[in-house]
């Protein structure tokens, strides 16, 4: 290599922008001398490195040389490459200096160099970016060198390879390295990258490839408009960066002497680009672990020299004889000369002697070549440059496409047919889904019946929407819709089903405003079935202007937004009331609210308000008011949702014409898909399309998107295996609980391969299914482990483990149990217990990592209970039901306990109440009471009644009168703890009669009043009250004891008692007659008699007892 010794300072500023160095000629032997100086060893590489440039310049190469040496290059190429690598390890950055040198090298070179310089300034910026990567890359490069040494080139050159070490150590290579056509060199790039790919060290591989790609991408981003040349720089720059240290050392070592030739830099940049592009492919190959990649590319190198990009210029390759050079590669350091040591990754170190380039071969050769173009170039150089530039541009474009659709490069010629696809894609950016969207009613894929129902509902609006303008239902564009209707109307006679119900809805009378009964149609169904499309098509079909609002987009003008209340009116009204003013065709609006299940409840309430409020106004009937308020809803609204059971939708659901979307028929979908595929030039068999349908659950959108995706990746054919192994088009499907239970309790029908649906499936399984004949026993294979995986996947994907487990618990006993010894049942219950423990640990101990074990419960159930027959499943309601009843019972108990008198309450908690007390207490409070008046009760009975009343009061029980649904009245215990303590299947306890309960209720009421009064009295009387009360108490004898003689006797006794107290004082009391006393006592007593004299009520006179006495 030629280096200007003085150019070291400028080198940093002006990097030689030669891409070739980056491409392959990194290992330039270093000589720090003047242009003529060179290193013996790697000089062939120098020759090679020089040649392309000169060939690019020289239109007329020396064909004989090229032909004559044709077999050689294959052997020489790897070797020279290797040498180059080695040399690079020593340090190859002196190319920079060479850049300066080159200016002295003839006019043609100067042209080049100046151009290079111009770009070099740009490159310095680039380089700084790559510097960071340099250190890593260096390690890789060294490793690659070693690899290359080890693996050597492809078959043609093993001999040369084996000879190589010898040559390296002992003598200069005598056999001149073959001058190789550029094409070869260029083609050798893939070989190199491929061999790189085949290297054992994966990390290095990935790093290198990724690095290259990264670099290129970054570069593209930076350069933008004119990417060609600069793209090639990074490699070279990186090389420079990498070996900057060595270079400096060398510079010091060499002093005045210099080494190397700068010519190596002048490789056509596009070659480098090609190399890199190939490298990308090679990387793919490497990623796929195909070691034959290297061999392939080597083969390519040999076989396809015609793919030389330089041929574009119409020039045949130039081949010159490389100059003979002496080399010295020594095992031990030479004593006299300067040397560079090179260490391979295997640890062997050799020493390269630095020599003055006495023969100045490099310069001479170059000069010889330089002279050539001046005379031989048939075409102006500028023209050639343009051509080269154009070619580069094309290649960069190609490379970028290649990068974009990188993973698809499965076949070796993937990059070749990438182009049309890429072009096509760039021309048509629209999704197929939009492109092939049905425009007409007949094109709809969704279920016919659903379509018809919606259309018919929409037609119901005709009277109010179109009726005034056009007489009747003339503008009915749906002649297709009507015959089926009549046809359908006949059916319901046989089936009294949902269908009939829907029909009835549709047949229903219009309301007073001639609007249909349901103002809103609610379409619901899983995504991708074409609901929105249907709504649009039908609206257009029926002569409306479809106005779509997406409820989940929070644009302030649309319906569910923050300022919903204010704006929803304006947003809704124009759509529903006015005709579109701007449209040339004056079609009435039909509002389509999409994704309404995502709308907040408030917005749905607004919608409901609009529907209802105007109803009410309509009933009010005054047209003026209607007009002022914005009028009634006169346009149809179609709402679309995925989940009709969203709580927010509940009120709307009751007021809307509900249409649930059935699954699209796979056959129809497959047919449509095949049409699309046909039109897009894809080959797709019906089987594959059906498989696709099945995989995506008949999701039209997903199917078409998958097709387009495959198409854009260059797949021209769709096969069943592809669909099955493909991970595309899978939805994160959330199956309904019932279907999951069904799958758990039912054995899969037939050995249906469920590949691709479960990412958990090991790759080996997938491979097994890819080539079925190879495995042969796929059916049995899928029986256990695949079932296991499938169910596991199912249960993982359904988030409701708790519900799932409940459903299993409720249903597993109905499943057919195989063993009669209940073993499986016990096992299943063990599992349930286990999952319960897990759940408890998760919820109470916050150990959420245990959640991962919950999905195994369904798997266990599946393996235990799966049967061939379809199970009869019931929704697990018993647990929530039980919970509700438990809460109810607890509330009853709580109500009872809260009213129990404190003294009793401290003794009975809820638990005791339930376990010990309540049942017996209810027995106790149902004594046998004679159905007669209380007055007629015996003493004991009265006592019993009093006790009963007091007990009930203490325990906060009363009887409340209730009207039964039959119209009768009944007394019920309140709180009705009977439900808590009585069990359904036990013999009913004796109940009190209605009269008895009435009596007790009345007594309870009285007693309660009495007590309240006593409390009041005690409070009012304060301190006085209590002694008085105590005094009064003996006086208050029960009614039954208040007999006259008792009173008389007591009065007498009291008198006697009082007498001694008042004895000392002679009072007039004793003087009073006993009769009077008695009379007073009797008269004042609570007992008094009323004597009604006379026969009738006409003659009546009050007669007091004192009058009698």
């Amino acid at each position: 290599m030629q280096v200007l010794s003085g150019s070291g300072a400028t080198a940093a500023l002006q990097p030689p922008p030669c891409p070739w160095l980056a491409a392959g000629l990194r290992h330039c032997p270093v000589s720090r001398d003047a242009p003529a100086s060179r290193v013996d060893g790697p000089s062939p590489s120098r020759c090679h490195s020089r040649r392309p440039r000169s060939r690019a310049v020289l239109p007329l190469p020396i064909p004989t040389a090229g032909i004559g040496l044709a077999p050689l290059p294959t052997a020489a190429a790897p070797r020279s490459r290797q040498l180059r690598r080695r040399a690079r390890d020593r340090g190859g950055g002196d190319r920079e200096r060479g850049a300066g040198t080159r200016t002295a090298e003839g006019s043609r070179d100067r042209v080049e160099v100046t151009r290079d310089r111009a770009e070099g300034t740009q490159d310095t910026a680039e380089r700084s970016r790559y510097r960071a990567e340099g250190t890593q890359d260096r390690a890789e490069v060294i490793r690659h060198t070693a690899e290359r040494t080890r693996h050597g080139p492809a078959p043609p050159g093993p001999a040369a390879l084996q000879r190589l070490p010898v040559a390296l150590t002992s003598r200069p290579i005598s056999a001149a390295p073959a001058p190789r056509p550029t094409a070869r060199r260029v083609q050798s790039a893939p070989a190199r990258s491929a061999s790189r790919a085949s290297a054992a060290n994966q990390r290095a591989l990935l790093g290198a490839a990724a690095g290259g790609r990264r670099r290129e991408e970054r570069w593209r981003g930076a350069r933008g408009a004119r990417p060609m040349r600069g793209a090639l720089r990074p490699g070279e720059d990186e090389f420079y960066e990498r070996f900057a240290d060595e270079l400096e050392v060398l510079a010091e070592l060499g002093g005045g002497r210099c080494c190397g030739t700068g010519t190596a830099r002048h490789r056509p940049p596009h070659a480098d680009r090609r190399r890199r592009r190939e490298g990308v492919c090679g990387r793919d190959r490497a990623l796929r672990g195909r070691t034959r990649g290297r061999a392939l590319s080597l083969l390519k190198e040999l076989v396809f020299p015609s793919s030389n990009p330089m041929e574009v210029s119409g020039m045949s390759p130039l081949q010159t004889t490389p100059p003979l050079e002496k080399k010295r590669v020594l095992r031990r350091p030479p004593i006299l000369e300067d040397y560079i040591n090179v260490t391979s990754s295997e640890g062997t170190r050799v020493f390269l002697v630095l020599r003055d380039d006495l023969s100045r071969t490099g310069v001479e050769v170059r000069r010889a070549l330089e002279v050539g173009p001046l005379h031989l170039l048939g075409v102006p150089f500028s023209y050639l440059k343009e051509q080269v530039d154009a070619e580069r541009r094309r290649q960069v474009l190609e490379a970028s496409h290649c990068l974009e659709s990188e993973p698809s490069a499965e076949s070796p010629d993937a990059s070749m047919d990438m182009d049309p696809a890429a072009q096509e894609e760039s021309t048509s950016h629209c999704l197929w889904v939009d492109k092939f969207m049905p425009r007409r009613y007949m094109e709809l894929l969704s279920d016919d019946y659903t379509n018809r129902c919606l259309l018919k509902w929409l037609k119901l609006w005709d009277t109010v929407v179109f009726g005034k303008d056009k007489s009747g239902k003339k503008p009915k564009p749906g002649p297709t819709a009507h015959p089926p209707f009549s046809h359908h109307k006949e059916h319901p006679n046989k089936w009294k089903t949902k269908v009939q119900l829907t029909e009835e809805l549709l047949e229903a009378e219009l309301d007073q405003h001639k609007r249909p009964k349901y103002k809103v149609a609610l379409l619901c169904g899983p995504p991708g079935l074409g609901k929105t499309t249907l709504a649009h098509v039908i609206a257009r079909h029926a002569g409306y202007n479809a106005v779509e609002m997406n409820a989940s987009v929070p644009v302030p003008k649309v319906f569910p937004c923050r300022t919903l209340r204010e704006c929803s009116g304006p947003a809704l009204k124009p759509h529903t009331q006015m005709k579109s003013v701007l449209g040339s065709h004056e079609r009435p609006n039909c509002l389509i609210i999409d994704e309404i299940d995502g709308a907040p409840a408030a917005s749905i309430n607004v919608l409901l308000g609009i529907i209802q409020r105007k109803d009410a106004e309509g009933e009010a009937g005054t047209g003026r008011r209607r007009r002022r308020e914005g009028g009634i809803l006169l346009r149809p609204i179609i709402c679309i949702c995925n989940d009709q059971y969203v709580p927010a939708l509940r009120p709307l659901r009751q007021q809307s014409f509900l249409l649930s979307f059935p699954r699209t028929a796979p056959s129809r979908l497959a047919q449509r898909l095949s049409e699309i595929a046909l039109r897009q030039g894809m080959r797709a068999g019906t089987g594959a399309l059906l498989a696709l349908c099945e995989k995506t659950d008949s999701d039209i959108r997903s199917c078409i998107n998958t097709l387009q995706f495959l198409h854009s990746r260059g797949q021209k054919e769709l096969s069943v295996e592809m669909v099955q192994t493909m991970r595309v088009g899978l939805k994160d499907q959330n199956k309904g609980l019932f279907s999951i239970w069904q799958e758990i309790f039912q054995l899969p029908r037939g050995p249906k391969p469920r590949v691709g649906t479960d990412p958990l499936l090991p790759a080996q399984l997938l491979a097994g299914d890819e080539d079925l004949p190879h495995l042969g026993t796929s059916g049995s294979f899928s029986s256990s482990s695949q079932r296991f995986q499938h169910i596991l996947q199912l249960s993982v994907s359904s988030g409701e483990q708790d519900k799932l487990a409940q459903g299993l618990f409720e249903n597993f006993l109905q499943a057919r149990v195989r063993d009669s010894s209940l073993g499986s049942v016990c096992l299943a219950l063990e599992w349930l217990c286990f999952s319960d423990l897990l759940g408890r640990a998760v919820l109470h101990g916050q150990s959420f990592q245990l959640l991962r074990y919950l999905p195994f419960l369904p798997v266990a159930f599946h393996l235990l209970f799966a049967a061939n027959t379809a199970p009869r499943l019931a929704y697990p309601s018993s647990q929530p039901e039980a919970q509700a009843r438990l809460t109810h019972a607890q509330n009853l108990l709580l109500a009872m306990v809260s009213g129990i008198a404190p003294s009793a309450r401290s003794r009975v908690g809820q638990r005791e109440l339930v376990l010990d007390v309540l049942c017996l207490l209810l027995d106790i409070i149902t004594p046998k009471l004679r159905p007669v008046n209380t007055q007629l009760y015996s003493q004991r009975e009265k006592q019993q009644l009093a006790q009963l009343v007091s007990t009930m009061l203490t325990y906060n029980l009363t009887y409340l009168q209730e009207r039964l649904p039959e119209g009768q009245y009944a007394f019920k215990l309140d709180p009705n703890v009977e439900t808590v303590c009585r069990f359904p299947e036990l013999p009913a306890r004796r109940q009190l009669s209605y009269q008895a309960k009435q009596l007790i209720a009345r007594e309870l009421e009285l007693e309660r009043m009495r007590r309240a009064e006593a409390v009041l009295q005690a409070r009012n009387g304060g301190q006085v009250g209590s002694p008085e009360g105590r005094e009064l108490e003996p006086a208050e004898t029960p009614n039954h004891r208040q007999r006259l003689e008792h009173i008389v006797r007591r009065a007498a006794v009291q008198d006697k008692v009082r007498a001694p107290i008042s004895a000392p004082i002679p009072t007039p009391i004793p003087t009073k007659s006993l009769e009077l006393q008695l009379g007073k006592a009797v008269g004042k007593s609570d007992v008094w008699f009323r004597f009604n004299e006379g026969f009738s009520n006409a003659v009546r006179r009050n007669l007091y007892i004192r009058d009698l006495l």
Binding site: F809, L813, Q814, V817, S821, L822, G823, V825, C826, L829, E830, L832, C833, D836, L837, G839, R840, L843, S878, Q879, A882, L886, A889, Q890, P902, S903, A904, R905, S906, R907, G909, Q910, R911, E912, V914, L915, D916, V917, C919, L920, L921, D923, I924, T926, P927, K928, Q947, S950, T951, M952, L953, T954, Y955, V980, C981, R982, F983, P984, E985, L986
Partner: protein, 356 residues
């Protein structure tokens, strides 16, 4: 008063009917005017509360019997309001902290703090401490129990705790060691008979001894139950006869029928029926451990002696799980299924033996 059980409850330690020595010891305990924290435990219906109230009356006089219900609302640190009602006299406070569920810790801390921080005004005439009676301590969460152990020491000067529970096993060691444990065993059959006849005498009824005996046996040595049974017998039919029907608790009858159903047939269908019955029991607020216990006794009555050990062991296993888990029905049913499996196997083996 209302029920016999309430009406004839002894109000003083001296008038207790059984465990008299213990009553005497308790009297000695309080006679010096002070006593440590107490942990009273024993089966329900043995008279724990009665003894505690007698003790308090001994300590404070008849004032403790003037009870009132107070509703307190406590704010948890999480700003959650907890409503809890307490039964209080001037001298003591009774609270069931497990009413507050998971927040029992807050309840205990707050209540004890408020009670303990108010000093008695007249220390000359009154005791200088109040008593806080915590019931159903065995239902306390571990958190609350740990909170309790610090509080117990901290407020020792101004308040005494009496803890009341059925089983001491669920109370953490530190609390057990801080308390004087008083076990109130269930009364013996004779004790119950004695109490029954004395109550009947007070009511002016004559109770045949045989009937008393039968009631006592049927009550499972639960005095409260025995008295209630006796009273309901009285309601049913007054002139008592010795062979009179004794009303039973419905849930016990139901469980017995369930056990019969289990023993009668061992199929998944029967298991399904049993599940329904278990649900029924649980929704009637019968605690699952009681269900398990009674079911086990009923099953043991029905099954062969050889099986008893195994069945009991299984029951213990599943009850342990029941305590650990949260969905009682799974564990109960697992027990039933296991029993069915074992029983079925046993029966089939027996049949095989008979065949050969």
């Amino acid at each position: 008063m209302s029920l016999w059980a309430d009406k004839h409850r002894p109000g003083a330690l001296a008038r207790l009917d059984f465990h008299r020595e213990q009553a005497a010891r308790l009297r000695n305990l309080v006679q010096c005017g002070d006593f440590p924290h107490l942990l009273v435990y024993g089966p329900s219906g043995a008279g724990k509360k009665t003894r505690i109230m007698c003790l308090l009356r001994e300590l404070y006089g008849p004032g403790v019997e003037k009870l009132r219900i107070e509703h307190q609302s406590i704010t948890a640190p999480s700003k959650k309001k907890i409503e809890i009602s307490t039964i209080a006299s001037n001298y003591h406070l009774e609270v069931n902290p497990s009413d507050a569920g998971n927040n029992d810790r807050v309840v205990i801390q707050e209540l004890l703090k408020t009670v303990a921080q108010s000093q008695q005004l007249e220390t000359s005439t009154q005791r200088d401490f109040k008593v806080v009676l915590l019931t159903e301590v065995d239902k306390l969460t571990k958190d609350a129990q740990h909170a309790l152990r610090r509080t117990m020491e901290k407020y020792m000067a101004t308040c005494r705790l009496i803890l009341c529970c059925n089983s001491m096993s669920k109370i953490i060691g530190p609390i057990q060691s801080r308390c004087l444990a008083v076990r109130v065993p269930a009364p013996s059959i004779e004790d119950i008979c004695h109490v029954l006849s004395s109550v009947c005498k007070k009511e002016g009824l004559t109770l045949p001894h045989e009937l008393a005996q039968r009631i006592a046996e049927k009550s499972g040595r639960n005095l409260r139950k025995a008295l209630l049974m006796c009273e309901s017998c009285r309601v049913q039919q007054y002139p008592f006869t010795a062979d009179q029907d004794i009303p039973e608790m419905d849930w016990e009858v139901y469980l017995r029928e369930t056990a019969d159903a289990i023993v009668g047939q061992q199929t998944p269908q029967r298991l399904l029926e049993v599940r329904g019955r278990l649900y029924e029991l649980l929704t009637h607020c019968i605690p699952p451990e009681i269900v398990m216990k009674v079911l086990l006794t009923e099953l043991l009555n029905n099954c062969d002696g050889q099986l008893k050990g195994e069945v009991a062991q299984m029951a213990a296993f599943y009850e342990h799980r029941l305590q650990l888990g949260s969905k009682a029905i799974y564990h109960l049913e697992a027990f039933v299924a296991k029993f069915m499996a074992i029983y079925k196997k046993f029966m089939e083996d027996g049949l095989d033996d008979m065949m050969f």
